[in-house]
């Protein structure tokens, strides 16, 4: 809890210090939302897929960006000698930015709804949480790579945009990609829900996929982190 409080306060100070970046981010999100909503397809499904992507993108990038930033600031070593493990620290940072990004996404939807008709079922927000939990596993893998190669963080945004396509918000997702990652599976499950064809089995598949991604990513991070202790650290 102390870690959560400390990181939350620091993140708010950071957000206040670099607020122009967040304003630009918000406008970019609104612009993208308007583009997405003007493409062909079911509007509600696309809105959900887009919202899911906005939040997953934050989850995917936050941990590796955190490692990259701390490495560049020279503070990473100092964080690694604290009672909380580096994995706990990046997980909490990601959770906090997930909350901040959720508020940002709501503001984005609020502003966009003034200009275009939007409908969203908030009772299905649990899918977002589940998908983000699964994508945290991918985030751990990207973080592990950033630990070794600092420049990796620069490529994370490419991964983020790749996920924009995998969300199905811009293009309809081919069937064979639906269960390859938590984001595509989440979007697909939401589509089944709005067409009232979703069953317990579909939810169970999504749950298992997210759990598998999370623990596989966590395992890879731990392995890479442990393995790197045999070599000279470069930060």
């Amino acid at each position: 809890m102390k870690l959560m409080k400390a990181e939350f306060k620091k993140s708010l100070i950071e957000a206040a210090s670099y607020y122009p970046d967040y304003i630009v981010g918000l406008f970019t999100d609104i612009l993208l939302l308007v583009i997405v909503m003007n493409t062909e397809g079911e509007q509600e499904e696309k809105l959900f897929a887009y919202l899911l992507w906005v939040l997953v993108n934050g989850v995917l990038s936050e941990a590796s960006l955190c490692i990259s930033t701390e490495k560049q600031l020279g503070t990473l070593q100092n964080l690694m000698i604290k009672p909380y493990s580096i994995m706990q620290i990046i997980s909490v940072k990601t959770l906090i930015w997930f909350m901040i990004n959720s508020v940002k996404a709501l503001v984005c939807i609020g502003i966009a709804s003034l200009f275009i008709k939007l409908s969203f079922r908030f009772e299905h927000f649990y899918i977002v949480i589940l998908v983000c939990f699964g994508c945290m596993g991918i985030s751990y893998v990207l973080s592990a790579l950033t630990l070794i190669f600092t420049k990796m963080a620069s490529f994370v945004s490419i991964v983020g945009y790749l996920f924009l396509f995998l969300s199905g918000s811009i293009l309809s997702l081919p069937e064979y990609l639906q269960y390859t990652n938590p984001l595509s599976a989440g979007s697909h499950f939401y589509a089944l829900l709005i067409y009232q064809t979703a069953g317990v089995k579909d939810f169970f598949i999504l749950l298992m996929l997210c759990v598998a991604y999370f623990f596989a990513g966590k395992g890879i991070f731990s392995f890479v982190f442990q393995r790197s202790k045999q070599f000279k650290w470069t930060y």
Binding site: K2, A6, K10, T75, M80, P83, Y84, K229
Partner: protein, 281 residues
């Protein structure tokens, strides 16, 4: 408190630590000296579990450090690393304290922190952004943060590097006071001999991957004296080898002797000799 037995670490062809043995007691400051690349940082990284040694063991309070959980280990061990930036520029001094208190599972409002802020003379600037601090103030803040968790073992890598004389003296004084009263075991590395001399510490030399004990007295020339005397109303001084009695008798009666003092050699001068000896060895 800390005991290291037979520590070995190799990076490709270079064996940096070769069967290194070392122990530090509670409340003791150990200054580890060595040339650049001698392996001081490698040793610190091994103690901090950031590097895995190839062989050997490190014990903290009699327990192998690999058996500690992260939380337990780093509530006992803290460090101020030269290679790391220890505070955030965009936060104020107080916000840094609050943030690191959270990471160290401490209550930032505790009395000890308030006492340290006063002891480190940071009261006036504590609510200002660290980016506006001088290097001395930043280092004091980083040291305060490292000390506020009351660690059992503190690793200080060049803690006074780049500080002006006043800040350096202030940091040394604070270290001497807090470490003795809090009974913290300290492993310190420095290239600044004046710092090493002023700290009430035991000196160890890290050379060729092995730690050598160092006692300045072993290198003192016991028969070398400086005699100050007045000759023709002018103060003069000579450096002479011999026994105190012989020197006294040779000057007595001829001149007015002002002082006969054993000539102490500079630590830097002695250490140069030590490093040269080990090089030859």
């Amino acid at each position: 408190m800390l005991e290291i037995k037979g520590l070995k670490k190799r990076f490709k062809a270079k064996e940096v630590l070769k069967n290194l043995n070392l122990s530090i007691n509670e409340g003791e400051i150990v200054c580890l000296l060595g040339n650049n690349g001698a392996g001081k940082t490698t040793l610190i990284n091994c103690i901090l579990r950031m590097l895995q040694a190839d062989a050997g063991s490190i014990f903290l309070e009699g327990r192998d450090i690999s058996t500690y959980k992260n939380e337990e280990y780093f509530s006992k061990v803290n460090a101020l690393l030269e290679s790391s930036v220890n505070v955030y520029d965009y936060l104020t001094g107080w916000q840094n304290i609050e943030y690191f208190s959270g990471l160290l599972k401490l209550d930032s409002g505790n009395e000890k922190i308030k006492t340290y802020i006063s002891l480190f003379e940071l009261e006036e600037a504590i609510h200002e952004a660290v980016g506006t601090y001088s290097r001395g103030m930043r280092q004091k803040l980083a040291l305060l943060i490292a000390l506020m968790s009351s660690p059992k073992l503190l690793l200080l890598d060049e803690p006074t590097l780049g500080l002006d004389i006043q800040s350096k003296l202030s940091v040394i004084q604070i270290l001497n006071t807090i470490i003795k009263t809090e009974k913290i075991a300290v492993l310190l590395t420095s290239h600044q001999m004046d710092v090493v001399q002023k700290l009430q510490s035991r000196i160890l030399i890290l050379k060729d991957g092995v730690v050598h004990a160092f006692d300045k007295a072993d290198y003192e020339d016991k028969d070398l004296y400086t005699v100050s005397y007045i000759k023709d109303s002018v103060m003069e001084s000579d450096t002479i080898r011999g026994s105190f009695q012989d020197i006294y008798q040779s000057y007595y009666g001829k001149y007015e002797i002002m002082e006969i003092r054993k000539k102490e050699r500079d630590l830097e001068e002695i250490l140069l000799e030590v490093f040269h000896e080990t090089d030859e060895g």
